[in-house]
């Protein structure tokens, strides 16, 4: 790797007018250092970290449940995407007592980073599926958002959804709505804040931050369900 820096510092003298003695700061060096693999690890820090690393590695390899099928992520919808969206929806509805509210879930395909193979599931596997520290958010939106979500799903080719399906291009809520004015959309803080250009979240009437990482919700869901993949996930989006 070639890395050269040429610094030239020009001092322009100015009219020195007064008075007391003082210390004038001059920038004499300014470069950010790469913490790369050629640097030897500090042994004191290494031994401080070691017991934590052992404990963590042990936990990450801990088996928390089983998958009966291969869970894959794909567009327009997939079993992994649907399982994740269902878990998020169910958690928030229960936690925020939204049973009587019109509520759906919309996540992003790109946010699911790995598949889950048939067989035992470790905590580390879930960290691979969801390495991001995304928190769940409930966003109250005007009912017109349904049109915008449809357009978005059509444009991207599909995202993980729950609480509704797209049947022949029509938005169909999974249970009857209690409002003609608004709908709650469960999503992640990343998407609610404009991530992946889901710009319709900017029209939020209200936002509720749910104090939970999506990943933690998924881990708890595996622990609660023990075996995942009993349900057959049918296609949720078709045009």
């Amino acid at each position: 790797m070639k890395f050269t820096i040429v610094l030239s510092i020009v001092l322009i003298g100015a009219g020195v007018t007064a008075c007391s003695s003082y210390l004038s700061p001059q920038l004499t060096r300014d470069s950010n250092l790469r913490v790369d693999q050629t640097i030897t690890a500090n042994s004191k820090i290494d031994s401080l970290v070691a017991p934590y690393k052992r404990e963590l590695d042990k936990e990450m390899s801990q088996i928390i449940g089983r998958s009966l099928v291969d869970f894959l992520v794909a567009r327009p919808s997939s079993n992994l995407g649907s399982w994740v969206a269902d878990a998020a929806l169910q958690y928030v509805v229960q936690e925020e007592q939204m049973n009587n509210e019109p509520v759906i879930c919309l996540l992003n395909t790109g946010g699911i980073r790995a598949s889950l193979s048939k067989g035992s599931i470790t905590k580390g596997d879930i960290f691979k599926v969801m390495p991001f520290d995304n928190r769940l958010v409930a966003v109250k939106l005007p009912i017109s958002v349904k049109t915008e979500i449809l357009a978005y799903l059509k444009m991207t080719g599909g995202e993980p959804i729950a609480g509704f399906t797209v049947q022949n291009g029509v938005f169909v809520l999974s249970k009857e709505s209690t409002s003609n004015d608004y709908i709650w959309v469960i999503t992640t803080d990343f998407l609610a804040n404009g991530g992946d250009k889901m710009l319709f979240f900017q029209n939020a009437i209200e936002k509720k931050a749910v104090n939970a990482l999506l990943r933690d919700v998924l881990i708890q869901t595996v622990i609660d369900q023990q075996e995942i993949g009993k349900v057959n996930y049918s296609e949720r989006i078709n045009w």
Partner: protein, 307 residues
């Protein structure tokens, strides 16, 4: 001038002329050099990135950062080690050990002062307070009203650190937490205007005779299309800040950026991405001089990077 062996070892700045010869020869007994080392958004990255990381394979790791810091400490007399927030969240170490390990390793590295990032509230205020028991460094923030919380005793608007006869004032400033952290935590903290509060602290620190003022900021480097206070906006709308060490936006700067402040003076801004992949370094040399009403020096830094 001392030989910087570690630079050659890391082949970071091979063949670089660090300082113009004129300035080197101008160095005299009356000058004091301050080396400011800093991180931001380390996000619980204890281990280096994996060798298969698409963008930054094998970079980072606290044990390697410590070696780099110790090397510099052995070469330089007056070193400051600072962090601009978001120490927490990002690896399972945080989820499992609730920030304790991050605090322990930073304490071992002898960090002097840090500020609060939004993710430092991810296990609530009590979580931060608990973890912080493992570290002796100071925490500064001037625009979060923390009276109703247990952070009240832990956090001060500014602190003054003395090095080699210099008084260095360090202020902390943070981003609006509403919408970024859990509502129940955000509601306990009243957010105050960063520009007004920072300027107040600068005034206090100058009246206490500080030679240099650093603002540790978790506002974010720049928001080109948003009406939002960033480090650039803060620098332009205040006076008296010498250096802003930023965070939040995970901005990788090859070197510090110079912005003209409200009075037309230079304020430096630096930020080193995230995850402890880089260690920021700024050297400032203080020379005995004569106070002037006008700017005594303009510094032009040209750079030519080949990576």
């Amino acid at each position: 001038m001392k030989r910087r062996k570690f630079i050659q070892q890391t082949s970071l700045l091979a063949g670089a002329a660090l300082v113009a010869p004129t300035l080197m020869s101008a160095k005299n007994d009356a000058s004091t050099k301050l080396v400011i080392l800093h991180t931001n958004d380390t996000h619980s990255n204890i281990e280096p990135f994996s060798s298969s990381h698409p963008k930054f394979p094998n970079l980072g790791g606290v044990a390697k950062r410590a070696t780099l810091i110790n090397q510099i400490r052995s070469e330089e007399t007056n070193v400051l080690l600072l962090d601009a927030g978001d120490i927490f969240q990002g690896t399972p170490y945080f989820n499992k050990f609730k920030g304790v390990l991050e605090m322990k390793v930073m304490n071992e590295m002898n960090y002097d002062v840090v500020t609060l990032g939004n993710h430092d509230f991810d296990i609530g205020i009590s979580g931060y307070v608990q973890a912080k028991k493992h570290a002796a460094f100071k925490v500064v923030n001037c625009n979060y009203q923390l009276d109703k919380t247990t952070l009240k005793e832990l956090v001060s608007p500014h602190t003054i650190v003395k090095r080699g006869g210099l008084k260095i004032g360090i202020i902390g400033v943070g981003i609006d937490l509403n919408g970024l952290i859990a509502n129940d935590v955000a509601q306990q903290i009243t957010y105050m205007d960063p520009i007004i509060t920072v300027q107040n602290e600068v005034t206090k620190l100058r009246s206490k005779g500080c030679d240099y003022i650093i603002c540790l900021s978790h506002l974010g480097f720049e928001y080109p299309n948003e009406n939002k206070v960033s480090d650039v906006v803060l620098a332009q709308n205040t006076s008296g800040i010498d250096l802003i060490i930023g965070g939040h936006t995970h901005t990788f700067l090859a070197e510090a950026v110079t912005v003209k402040n409200k009075k037309g003076e230079n304020t430096l801004i630096n930020q080193v991405g995230y995850a402890g992949l880089f260690l920021g370094r700024i050297d400032v040399t203080f020379q005995q001089g004569i106070k002037s009403n006008t700017t005594t020096a303009a510094i032009t830094v040209q750079h030519n990077l080949t990576v």
